[in-house]
Assembly symmetry: C2
Homo-oligomer: 87 residues x 2
C-alpha cells in the first residue's frame, strides 16, 4: 500500500526519526516521506518510532492508500525529494 508520512516533532528528535524513516520510505520534503509498505512493515516502523517520540508532544500523521495507483502527486515549485523517490 501507498504510505505518506508527515511529522511535526521536537527538534532534538528529528535526526533520529529521519534515520528510521529513511529505512522504510523515501524523503520527499522537509517533514514528509512517502513510499510503499506492507501493513507488517508499517507496524514495525510504528513500534520503532514509538521508542523515540514523546507521544504527548510529537505528532506523526500516516496516510495509507491501499492501491498506489489511486494517488496522484503534483509538485508546485521545486521538487526536493531525492532521486530514489519511487512515486
Amino acid at each position: 500500500m501507498k504510505v505518506i508520512i508527515v511529522y511535526d516533532v521536537n527538534i532534538e528528535r528529528i535526526t533520529t526519526i529521519r534515520k528510521i524513516l529513511k529505512q522504510y520510505l523515501s524523503w520527499v520534503q522537509n517533514s514528509a516521506f512517502e513510499g510503499e509498505l506492507t501493513e507488517g512493515r508499517l507496524e514495525e516502523l510504528k513500534s520503532r518510532l514509538y521508542e523515540v517520540i514523546d507521544p504527548n508532544t510529537d505528532s506523526i500523521i500516516v496516510y495509507t492508500i491501499s492501491n498506489p495507483r489511486w494517488v496522484d502527486k503534483r509538485v508546485w515549485g521545486v521538487e526536493k525529494g531525492g532521486t530514489d523517490n519511487i512515486l
Copy 2:
C-alpha cells in the same frame, strides 16, 4: 477528491501561504493541510499560491485521491490538527 498538501517554503512566506491554504483546507500539522476540493478549486488554489511562492526554492507537494474513502489516516503521538479537521 481528497487533497493532502505538504509544503517546505521560505520562512518569510510561511504565514502568507498558510493564510491562503486555510481558505481551502484544514491545517493538520506544522506544514501539512488536508481536505476535500474539486479540481477547479485546486487549480484556483494553485494560481493563488504561485503568486506568492518562489518556484525555484519553495516546494509544495499535492497528493490527490479521487475517492476520499480510499484514504486511511492514523496519528501516532499527539494530533495537532484543529477541531475543524474534517477527515
